[in-house]
Structure formats: C-alpha cells, structure tokens
Symmetry: D2
Subunit: 387 residues, 4 copies
C-alpha cells in the first residue's frame, strides 16, 4: 500500500491575515519515480478535475502505484472564491487582472527582471554535461531548475514577493519534481479535449480523449509549458552540441474535462480512468494503458482559432461542441432584440447567423449565453489530422 502525506500549501494571504491554502496529497508508491503531479481548478470555475482527483484517491486505494503522485485538488482557493452573485469568475485575478494560468516562471529563459541565478542557461549546462550519462543529466538539470526556483524566492526577499509569483512558486516548487504534469481544466462549453506537447502520439493515445491540440515547444505562461519546455530546451541544447540522445525527460499536459461549472462525481470516475490510463503509459501506475475508445483528431495549436462575436447579443449555438463543420456552415445564432428597427418586429431581424470561417471542428462556445461584441464566441480546430 502506498503511504500518504498531506500538506496545506499557502497560496495567498488575505488583507485580513487569513491564509488561503491548497490541500496537497502526496502518495508515495513502490518507488519515488516516475513521479506524476496533478492539480485541478486553477481557474475557479473549472471544477470537474476535482471529481477526477477524488476518484483517483479511491483508485489508488485499489492499485498500488509503481511510482509516486502528488494530487492537488482546489489548487487555487483565490480563484475559487471569486464568486459574484451566482457564478465564479475565476480566470482572471480580481486583484491583478492576471490569467491564473499565465503567470508561471520560464526557468530556462530570462523572463523576469531577475538575476541570472533565476534561470538555467541550457547551453552552458549542456557544455558542462556534454559527456554525462543520461540519469546524471536528468538529475543535475532538475537540481538546477530547483536552484533557480530557490534563487527566485531568495531574491524576492528584498522587495517583497508579488502575489502572482507566490502562486507560481507554490505550484512550481511541487511540479518541478515531476516526470509528468497534468493540469486539469475545463473548456467554457466543451467536450473533453487535450493539450499535449507535439509529437508524442503514444501518450496521447493513452488518454483516449477524442480532441487533441498539439502544443509547440514554446513557453507562453501555462503550467504544461512551464513543465515541459525547459526540458525540451535542454534536449535542444544538447542537440546543438551534436548529442542527440538526450530526450525531453518531462511531459506536461492540460486536460480539459468538459465544461466550466459542471461537476459530477460519477463522471469523475470516468475521468480518473482516462487519467489512470495515461499514468500507466508513464509507468506511474501498473498495467497497460487502455486503447482509445474512438478516433482521435488533432491539430496544431496555431490552427486552433477563435471566432469573435460579430455583434452583441444572445447566443444560441447551432451545433454541439465537438462537431465537425464545413466552411460556411451556420455554427451559431446571435439575437439582439434591439435590432428589430423596422415594424412589425420580426425575430429574424434580431438574429445574426455566424458561419464557420473554415473547415474544422467546433470545440467550445462562450460559457454564457449573453455576449458582447468582440468576445470569444467559439474556438475551433482547423487543419485537423488523424480522426
């Protein structure tokens, strides 16, 4: 049986002195590695990942892991508490405007006004370790990343640590240890879909999720990228020295478990099965990954595009999220009764049809059915492959 620990990690300290914490559950299996880090609910309104983690608790009581896991449900109590009226508005920090999933540190790039100690120069590291064995490279690089995080923390002592950095460090100090990182989100109104690093079809198959967005090896602030891009940078640096046997040691995924605001314990069991299958692929759990239940369709992240609302109004989707469409198909209707300027008023005067600007698959619609002009109406995959 695995042994368990729980730590409550401070995420923010309120103006009244109360500490908002995230409960981190550490499951020590047969071996410390491979280590998986899973968190849920970075965005306050994206709830279903918590159901998946609860179901994983139960699954881990039945199956002893070969490696180890860190599971952090409700990782962002700040965001989860941004409730105004009936809804949680949890993407952007009420205090700073910051998207909670865009503030992580790029540990192999000079992304902040901080000293050279605060990131790892992969080329310098590769030169020093050009002849080292792989295990030594992996361990040494992880130590270097941890040292960089430590330097960031130390340097913030003088001028104070901003709240965004406090959150990033709290998460990344846990996630940096991991061999695979799963950040559990949801779409707005969406089916299950997956952000995966490009070029790892077997891992993607293990998740069995039908819609896949392949992320390029470029840091844009999200946790999946913050987790795998430094290791890709390392691999590339060795490649520049002519050493091509150094793989990217760490993968990171953003797993989108349906729609914002949905929460189902029953569905959480299904989500846990998908995740467990991926963890089997990575050797964290025993056994083989399950074959995907159906075809998987992918596109490059650059071909995942959004349609902005052409008018303000009331949104009536014409297709379900997860539907293949052709360019010119009606994908949504937006109704604004104030457009009925000629009399007698007719419903068709109020309605603007939105057409698909390209062939593809509609993945998500705006979460709320009232939308101002210029807000994201839908996002769709284009130039898809597989399937």
């Amino acid at each position: 049986m695995p042994t368990w620990e729980r730590k409550d990690v401070v995420i923010r300290t309120m103006a009244t002195g109360h500490e908002l914490t995230a409960p981190a559950f550490f499951c020590h299996g047969k071996s410390p590695r491979p280590l998986a880090y899973l968190q849920a609910n970075v965005h306050g309104g994206e709830l279903q990942g918590n159901a998946a983690l609860l179901a994983l608790f139960d699954l881990l009581e039945r199956e002893e892991p070969l490696g180890s896991l860190v599971l952090v449900p409700r990782v962002n109590p700040v965001s989860a508490s941004q409730q105004v009226g009936d809804y949680v508005a949890g993407v952007y920090d009420f205090q700073s405007g910051q998207n909670f999933n865009r503030g992580y540190l790029y540990l192999t790039g000079p992304s902040r006004s901080s000293s050279a100690a605060c990131y790892v120069d992969v080329d310098a590291f590769a030169v020093v370790n050009v002849n080292a064995p792989l295990a030594e490279i992996r361990d040494g690089f992880r130590s270097a990343l941890k040292a960089a995080l430590g330097a960031v923390r130390a340097e913030s002592a003088e001028w104070g640590m901003d709240m965004r950095l406090e959150f990033a460090l709290a998460v990344q100090e846990m996630a940096v240890e991991a061999d695979v990182v799963l950040d559990l989100h949801t779409g707005d109104r969406a089916p299950r879909y997956l952000y995966a690093p490009q070029g790892i079809p077997e891992a993607v198959r293990a998740f069995g999720i039908p819609w896949v967005l392949e992320v390029s090896h470029r840091f844009a602030g999200a946790l999946d990228e913050a987790s795998f891009v430094p290791w890709q940078d390392l691999s590339d640096a060795f490649g520049r020295l002519g050493r091509n046997d150094v793989p990217r040691f760490v993968d990171g995924f953003t797993v989108e478990l349906g729609s914002m605001n949905s929460f189902s314990l029953a569905d959480g069991k299904e989500d846990a099965r998908r995740i467990a299958s991926a963890l089997r692929y990575y050797g964290v759990l025993p056994g083989c990954p399950e074959p995907p239940p159906g075809p998987q369709t992918a596109c490059a992240i650059g071909d995942y595009r959004s349609v902005m609302a052409p008018i303000g109004g009331l949104l009536d989707p014409a297709v379900s999220p997860g539907t293949a469409v052709r360019k010119g198909d009606v994908v949504a209707r937006i109704a604004d009764p104030s457009r009925c300027r000629s009399l007698p008023p007719r419903s068709r005067d109020a309605v603007v049809e939105v057409l698909a600007p390209d062939d593809g698959v509609v993945i998500l619609f705006h979460a709320f059915s009232s939308i101002p002009k210029g807000a994201r109406l839908l996002s769709m995959m284009t130039k898809t492959y597989g399937g």
Copy 2:
C-alpha cells in the same frame, strides 16, 4: 393587422453620459384592451424570456390580437451588462446591492418616505366610489395609480431621483396600464414554473406549466405583486364596505422559463405558445387556451422553502430539478476535498450528502456548482396539492 410602435425607454444614464435603454414594442390590436404587458430579462442572466418575446413577434404577425400588448425584451440593460469574466451576475445591482426585482413601488401602501400623493388610499377611494359602476371603478382606480406614479416622479425633482426609482418608474409607468402583467424570468437550474396569484386556477391552467407557486396578496417588491396587489387591496377595501362585487381587475405573473444562462430560439417558440395560451384566456389573443399538457402541482409561496448549503464545496445534484422527493431522500452531494483529513484520502470523506428535510418537489438548484456554506443550495415545494 395590428399597428406597432417602438420606444426606447431610458433605464439608466452612465457616468459617461451614455443612456442605457430598453426597447419597448407596442402592439395595438383590434382594441386597446385587454392590454398585456410582458417584459423579459430583469435579471441580467435570465435570458430565455427574450426568445419567447421574439417568437411572440412572429406569432403576432400571424394572429391579430383582440386586445393590445406591450413587449419589452432586454428590459434591464444595466443588469445584462454586469458581466465579469464569462458570466453575467445580474440579480443584484453592482452599484446599490439591490435585487432588481425588489425595488418596485407599492402604490397602495405608504412604502416610501414620500407624501400622501404618492400612493392611493384604497379605503378612501372605496368610500368615494362605493356606488360607482365597475367600469368607472376600474378606470378611476387606474387613473389614481397613474397619478400616484406622477406624484412620485414630480417629488423626486427636488432631491433627485435615485437609480432604483428611475428603473421602477420606467417599468411601472408602462405596466400600470395593463390588465395582465407577465414578468419573464428563469430559475437558477430549474424547469419551467410559475408564480401566480392564489386562487385563479383557470388562468394557471391556461399557462400549462407543471409547477405553480401561489402568491399571497401581499407586496414584497416584485413586479407581479406590484401589478396585482393594489387591485386586490381595492377589492378588499370595497369588501370592507360590504360591496363584494368588485373583483381584482388585474393579474400579475412571474413566469420562470427554465434555467439561468440558457437561451434557445427553438424553445422560445414553445414558450411563446404557453404564453399565447394564457393571453387567449385573458382575451388578448383570439381563441381558447390550450389544455395543460400534463398535471399541474402547486403549493403556497410560504411552503416553497430553501435548503442552505451545510458546508462549502462542489455541488453534485442527486435529482433533476422538477423531481418529487420524500423527506430523507438524498437530493444533493457536496464535495470538499479539503475534508479528507484522514489518510489515505477517500472520496467519501470529502462528500456530505444533503437530505430532503421534507416531502415535496425540488424545483431549483444553485446555478453554479461551487457553493459557499449558507448559500441557497436548492428550493423545493412542500405541502403540494393538485398534480
């Protein structure tokens, strides 16, 4: 064919001087009366009434009304614009905290710090008109109500009109003319249900809506009450003089068209059919009301009760809205992963089951699936009858 007019009624003037208006469509049928007043979307997130009104536009092109109608979709642009992140938080005014459906004027009660001219003393009116014919009573009382509204507006000139009063007057100056008032709302997560004045079963049958809350003759701030209670007060005043032939001349309803945030043009056609059936009952539209498609279950408004969330957490309803339950049935589960204090963590440690405190019908659940302790988890009818 009816003739139509449109007026854009100013609801609020912003700090930048922009006027937010509601589009009011006046449909003059064969006769000015009976007159129906219908509005939608007082609460910014309750959208479906707009679909019903758009469908009514089309229906009114096919069927000439016997009476007349005023239709006001998107009646509250202030509330509709209270969007924070993905959602509209439209029940309470961001500026004043006020529930937008609790600020109407009680025109037969001294409800405000205003002079005696600002309301109608029903007993004095009855004394003066004790021998008047019914039509004269009806017209005279409506004139008196309109004079009271005029006095409120006039008296606000000196100290300025507060924004809540500006909204109430904008709506009530239209609605006071009507013989029947329909205020189109939605529940949080709910089926279609109806707030109706108690004791009018035939009108209720005409709507055909399965769940009915019977409203007592007491003003609590909502538009349905603001519309019918003064006329009930009048009837009661005549009764106190021994004249029992003066009916309540005006009815008011709050029609709940499903869940917050839902918007469907197709469902709007069904909703328009329900509303048209009621308007046939009231003689505004030609023809007979439709028989209800199934049984109707009612309870007194005082027996419509709410369960408050016993803990904070993630809400997973155990029954669908519109389900009959027995006292002690599990109606919802709330999961808070931080409750997993003993290790290994188990999902059941995180979950609190909520039991029905009484027999009845669960009508609605909290709109969002994350809920703090003490927020309304669900509302249910108890002591139901009919069905």
Copy 3:
C-alpha cells in the same frame, strides 16, 4: 489589570472550506458589567475603526476598566476581501446583494419566517414581570433575548443556516450581552459623525463628535438599532401597563470615523480618546467623560437627506464635508465632457452645478469622483438644532 481572552469567531465558510474568522478580544475588567461591545469594519472599505480599536488596546493597558469590553476589529472578513482591482467594495455582499449592516435580527418583532420562539413578545414579558424589580427585569429580558437567538440557531438546523443569518448570529450572540454597543463605521467622504438614539444628550456630549444624527426607536436592520430597539420596546411595553420607571437599559451607536478607505494609526489614538470618553460616561472606564471640544449639531434621522446625481459625470465637490450651506448654494459640480455638443467645446457646457435643495450641513459626498446618474451624490442634515 484586566484579564483578556481571544476567540476567533467563524463568520463564513468559503466554497473551498476555508473559514473566515473575526478576532474577538474579551477584556474582563473589575466587574463583568457594565459591558461594552465594540466592533469595526462591518463594511469592508470602512477601515478607521480598526485603528481606534488598536489604540484602545493600548489605552486598556494603562487604565483598568471598571466594567468589561468586547472588541472585534475586522469583524467582517468577507466584506474586507471583496477587493476588485485597487478598491474594496464592501457594503454589499457579492453573493447576496445584502448590505452587511442591514441583516441583523429584530429580536422583539416577528421579522422572519420563524416560530414565535425566535423573538420576545415584550407585552407578554411586561405582563409577567410587571411587579419585578428593575435588575430582575433587565436580567430576565436579556435571558429572553438570548433564548430567542438560541431558538433561531436551533430552528436553522433543519433547512440550513443562510450566510446572512450566520453573520447576524455571530455578531448578535456577542452584542446581546452588552449594555452599550458601538459599531465603528465611516462615511463615504465625510467628517466624524454619530448615529445616536434620540433623547440622550449627555451620552452624545461624551463622544464630543460635532455632527449627530438622532435615530428614532424603530428597527431598520442596523446593529445599533438591533441593540437598543428591543430594550426600548420593553420600556414602552411597561409604559403601556402604566409602569414608567423601566428605562431603556441598553444604548447602541454607529460611530462614523471619517472617510471610507482612510486609515491612520495616529488618528486612531484620537478616535480612541473619543470612544473612551463615551465609555467613561457609561461607567465602563473610570473617570469623567471629556467635555466636547466644540459645538454639536444634530438633526433627526428623517431629516438627514440625500441628493441624487442629476446627471452622470465627474464629481467635484464645491464644499468640504461638514460644511453648513444655504438652500441654493452650489454644493457640487458634475462634469460630463460628452455634453459639449456645441462647438467650440467649452468647459462650462460640460458642467452641471448642483444646488443645495434646503438649508443644512453637507455631511458626506459619494466616495468616488465618477458617478452615474441617480447615485447618491451627497447627504446633508436639514432642520438642524444645537450647534
């Protein structure tokens, strides 16, 4: 030396399970009574009362109280955390729209849908105790009030306790014990001023605050009223039985310590002196109250009136808060550049002057300098006396 205790009272439990608490400091002086209850910061943006309570901590180390005190700074962590961008919007509950200072229980009136056990029938109490000595009346009535609070708590077990009630009970279970209650607030942009029960000039003198609003004996939801009105009701009930020697045993005040958002530890020492003077009057602290430093001007609460902004725009007050004005004086200018409709644009076309509608004293202006039409622009005392 007094002995001290601290309790952290749970005010709300968040959706993530975190408890938000208020720190309650109990100072037991030479005698349990007279007991003063002081709290600060019910409205999240009204901060200065905390400075006063911190200064009282220090004062109570220098002067042993004759009676006892309960001091609760930061009593409302929910409200204090309603920060959006730079500001705290702490008057209305983001979850319920409720003004945090209007939800207290009226313990001698049937104000809620609860049983007869949840309030005290003062007339019945007076009949039973018509011949009792005063001390017995006082103690018996306090016990009855506490029993009513207990019944409210007990009855909420079945259907759950709503968050507003949880807050009210948390505060009132402490405040009900007290002989004098001080609720420390601030105005929007305001000088120090005082809400006091009408007819207690000596107590008012002890505070030494120049502007005084005399509150009638009618419950409207605030803590000062919730504290003293039941005792006034009791006195009145005995009066109706012909026994006129039963005084109102408890007083309650709302003390407005300047402007919202201001916080000064140095000014807090001055505020503590004012409060200490009042506590000397009530026998909680030793010594005599200080004479007021200048004249005190009062008006009845019904003559404290607000001017609503006649247009939306940018607010430039023409007088300082706390200035006597004559009817017709310019008290503010509101500028809306979009009003410059004729060209060349001139600043005077943008500006609307607001005139005082009556003689009086301007007490407060809207906190923010951008204001929509119909928001409270200023409040002023009229029909003043004293001074």
Copy 4:
C-alpha cells in the same frame, strides 16, 4: 480661430447592442501639423486628465494653435463603467482581464498572429528610402503605419475582431496621425509625474513636472510606447544603413496627474498649463514653454521599483508620495489586528513596519488602505539623477 469637429468613436458594443463611444474633439489650427493627440481616462478610475482637457478647451478659445490637436476625454467608457459599489475598478477589463493600457499594437514588430501586412518592416523600409529626403521618409512611414492598421482591420473581418483589438484600433487610428501623443493617467496615490522617452531633456523641462521616469525604446504595450517606438525603430534602421540624420519624428508621453479617483476642475487649469507648455515646445501652441517651477528628478524606468506588501493588512503610509527616502527608512506601516496573538493585545503586535529597500523617492502608494500580501504597496524611483 481654430475650427472644431466632434466624432463619437465606438469603443465597444454591449451584449444589449448599446454602443459605448468616446467623444473625440478635433481642433484644426493654423496648420494641420504639428498634430498633438491627447486622451484621458483609459483606466476608468484615473479621472483628472478629463479636467485638464476641459481646461484646454477653454485655453484653445483664447490662443489659436499653430498646429492642430485631437482631444479625447473619457476615452474608455467601458472602463469608466466598471463600478462596483462605490468605486470604479478600471485598470483591468472585467471581460478579459486585460490591462486597458497594455493592448496596443506594435506596428513595427510581428506582435500578433497576423500576416506580414499587419506591421512595417523598418529595415526594408529604410533600404527602399535610404536616399529619400526627411519629409518624404516621415510621410511615407506614417502612410505605411496607417496601411498596417488598415491591414489589421481588414484581416479581422474573417474571424471577427476581438474587443481588445477594437479598442486598440479605435485609439491608434487617431493617434498614428500625431507628432506628439499625450496619454493622461494618474498614479494610485501619487504626485504628478511623467513617463518620457529617454534622452529628450528639453521636452521634459517643458512639462515642468518634478518626477520623471525615462522610458527605454522598447515596446511593452502602452500607448506612449506604441506611438514613439516604431519611429525610434525607423531611426535605428536608417542608422544601421549608416544614415544617422533620421530622427525619431514622434514622441509619446504618459502624463500622471496625481491620484486615482481625484477630480478637480481648478487643478485641471494648472494641468492644462503644464500640458500647454509642452505643446508650445512641440510647436502646436504658440509661444515658449515655461521654465520648470522647480528641480526635476529622473530615473530610468528599470530603476523604478515596487515593494510588495509583506503581510496583508491595513496600510498607513509613513511618508507622503513624492518623498525622498534613504534605505532603511520606515516608509509604511501595515496593521493586521489578527496578529495580536499574545495577550493583552498591543497595537505594536499588529503592526509591521516596511523599510525602504534602497535610497530613492517614493512615488506612489497602493490606492486602497486595505491590502493583501503580495499586492504592490508602493513604487519608488531609485538611482535618481537631476533634481
């Protein structure tokens, strides 16, 4: 006398179809150029620039400009309307989290997922125009910038224009014409200070503002940078070809007119004088700039640093904004009464003193006096020069 035009520029279309517009006033003086573009109130709570523009209206009636001006008060009605309770939270877009002053287009860099037509390649432009006269370079480059804006607008037709881009285009299509751009902001709690491109001391002297932050030639999203950096890039590109006589033709400034939420028509006249002096320097207004009223102290933008709140609590600044301090000086106190854990409670246990981490000048404090841990407590200039 100049001739005037007014256009109301659409900034956003709401979900109810209402258009929010900014009033743009075009003042055509003796010559179309030099052209100054001035806007105020991009951030909804930063109001004083409107007073300056109103005073400029009056000044322009007295003095005929040599060049021309565009003046846009209340440029951002979206932001100005983000009022929650008493305050406007206008820095971040409630819908997108975006800082309203960070979304402008970088017209000489490939900053967006758009085609090459959407920005100007300065090196290619320089090669083509390497021998052109300066006036031709200036006019040709402005045409190229305008073509780029046109391409952005055209390309957005297919997938829709997001609201942030709509705002950027509305502003930049006006500002791109100008020779000097002034964006009128305020600090949080601050004196008047100025963001100026580095290396233009005479222009800085003309403003006469005591505190100056010198902005490097690097685009970070703000309007001043969006205005001058492309022209600096052009100058640099010619320099790379060995032609060093091409100056930066356009300057851009962010002018900070005191504190957020302040609005004074009287102070606006003083602000207009400062701005007019700068416009004289640029030849837009006649006459010579005024000498600065006192010393001016500057630092590089990279040496303008922020202290983050070390604890959550109540903020009591120990110095006024605009005060020189030494490393180790107390600059603020933060009080959190919940820190009084030992009894008796003492105010000093609640208070944490914040010390200046370096020598410099404190420019601003957090606008609100309640602050969570990790929010910006203050910003200060370090490594100052001049003065």
